[in-house]
Amino acid sequence: MNVAVMKTKAEQAISEGFEAVAEALPGGAGVRTARKAALGRFGALGLPHRRIEEWKYTDLKSALKDVARPAVGDATPVTIADVIVALGPFARLELPRLVLVNGGYRKDLSNLDGVEGYEVKPLAAALAEAPDTVGEGLAEVAGQDQDAVIALNTAFMTDGALVRLKSGVVVQRPLLVVHIRAGKEPCSAAIRNIVHVADKAHARLIELYVSVPGSTAEGQVNVLTEIILDAGAELDHVKCASDTGRSTHLASLVLEMAADAVYRGFQMTEGVGLGRNQGFVTFKGEGGKLDLSGVLLGRGSEHVDTTLVIDHVAGACESRELFKGVLDGEARGVFQGKVIVRPDAQKTDGKQMAQALMLSEAAEFDSKPELEIHADDVVCGHGSTSAELDEDLLFYFRSRGIPKDEARALMIESFVGEAIDHVEDESVREALMSVARGWVAPGRG
């Protein structure tokens, strides 16, 4: 059988797109080799489809009809005022920021003056300075060589943030890494972020994926954030995609945790046509703690998928996952949570919960927990619920004079608020609530 003839139009466009831009992509010979190898892997894998278990509910092969041109050397005019508008409620936090537009770092829009404790560098600049030393780290993404979306990221990545915290450095203010879609022409951007928190350091990072109002609603963002937490390191990490309802957002998180590392993560996705957040977490040393929560908001024909694989290789680690979806119209939400407990990972404590609030009969929520346990002294649990708005509770609100729309909004906010409450920083929590409020009732945010 000739596999090549089975390529879809989108897969064909991706291969041709690579040929067209390969020379302009950053990096030395080593990186170029890695890119070609990754494209080769993608060619063999193709776009993921529903017969691949990890993509059971999100068939990219049939969903992606067209793929916009790869973004390379983009120069779309964007002003600081545009950035402030795009940041929405996060603008109020006045945080140091690294800004990327259509896949490329923009010094004029970034503000890294107030950065203390972090070493921050745009990926492309780092590749230009030391193409091979940086490149080595990019070639292999730990254990993820069978994921087509990650392979595409390696092949096409143009820029991103390299963030490093030295041993023992503790920061209070989060660093903002913002990717902004802009311009009338749709494009496909590929961002690679690499975060390394050395032992006993404590970092705070917020990733935002937004767009300038009035720019094309089409387009694709493929982001891969690799995080390494050394022994006893801590990271508070918020990722929020808030767009205009038609674009494709493919995000991968690869997280490695050494002994006693602590990760508190929160992911919010709203306003994307097709969204996939996949996370691969590996506990490599004992005593690690992970608290990963998130909110998926979908309406119209939007499709929002969260797929997590938590691999307990070392024992005595704790993982907590709480994801909440609110689905209206014909939107579809997906939560797949896999917890693997390896034979030596005794005393593992893993729990996950997925809850959906269904605002319409045509909406759909697919939840699939998977426990793969090879050790005998562990505590693992999972749960999933899917419900409509509680009519009794709605009456309670209304009997107190609160009109129906406002009562509904408050109920939805309280539902997602339970997940947002996992974010430690009050001002960040407030910004996330504001994004959620804006989704529930445009104008309230």
Binding site: L393, R398, S399, R400, G401, I402, A407, M411
Partner: protein
């Protein structure tokens, strides 16, 4: 003045009538008690007054200050001054008590044409009213009623009532689940709201509550109708004789 005229009601989509012709008048400034056995329709009457959608009025009318409220949504009724203190107050995870109180108070103020309370104004009022009900302000920073004891939930209901300044208070089995101390605090809170411009309907199974909230009139509700009305001494009579004469089986 509350006027209930020949009120018939049932649960939506069920044939069985629950209220079968209630006639009742509660003038402003008075407190009336509705007593009755289980299943007599007491809670149905409370819900129908507040406008719960699961109940359907098949005949009759409810007038508040001369105006029919049957066509009004629950929130419109609240703006008109109707307040129902729930027998089982709901828990609202994720919504802080203060947020809930402020949203509710300002929603009714807005509809009544009053200026909304600013944050300092609201805090002053709420602190004052909460203190009288022995409610710690810290408790109001927590989600509404979540993890509260029975007594705390009922005090939280009375605080909501005080904040919304209703003119018609309907208290559904407010004494259920209360120990003696909680009953005293809740009753004092209710008594503090008695006034010439406010009518109250106190629904209860037991006479106990009426030692604390002394009614002007007592009505016996059984099998969906008012069977007997009288002064506060009727409650004491009922405590001794039970509801047997109104067709209720002894529990």
């Amino acid at each position: 003045m509350l006027e209930i005229r020949n009120l018939h009601a049932r649960i939506v989509d069920e044939d069985k009538p629950i209220l079968k012709g209630i006639d009742l008048v509660v003038p402003k400034g008075e407190v009336h008690a509705i007593m009755g056995p289980n299943g007599s329709g007491k809670s149905t009457l409370a819900y129908v007054l507040a406008g719960r959608e699961d109940y359907e009025v098949t005949q009759g009318d409810i007038l508040w200050n001369g105006e029919s409220i049957l066509g009004m949504e629950p929130d419109e009724r609240a703006a008109k001054g109707v307040f129902l203190a729930f027998q089982y107050p709901m828990e609202i995870p994720g919504v802080a008590g203060l947020t809930f109180l402020r949203t509710a108070a300002n929603a009714v103020r807005k509809k009544r044409g009053q200026a909304e309370l600013t944050t300092p104004e609201f805090m002053k009022v709420v602190k004052d009213k909460a203190a009288k009900l022995d409610i710690d302000i810290e408790m109001l920073k927590r989600p509404v009623n979540v993890g509260f004891s029975g007594g705390e939930k009922k005090r939280s209901e009375i605080l909501q009532m005080a904040m919304l300044e209703p003119s018609l208070c309907v208290l559904d089995e407010t004494d259920s689940g209360l120990d003696i101390d909680a009953l005293r605090i809740v009753s004092e809170g209710v008594n503090a709201l008695r006034g010439p411009d406010r009518a109250m309907l106190v629904i209860t199974h037991y006479q106990r509550l009426l030692n604390h909230i002394v009614p002007d009139r007592v009505h016996v509700l059984a099998q969906g109708r008012i069977h007997k009305s009288g002064g506060k001494e009727l409650a004491i009579e009922l405590e001794q004789s039970g509801y047997a004469e109104f067709g209720a089986k002894a529990a």
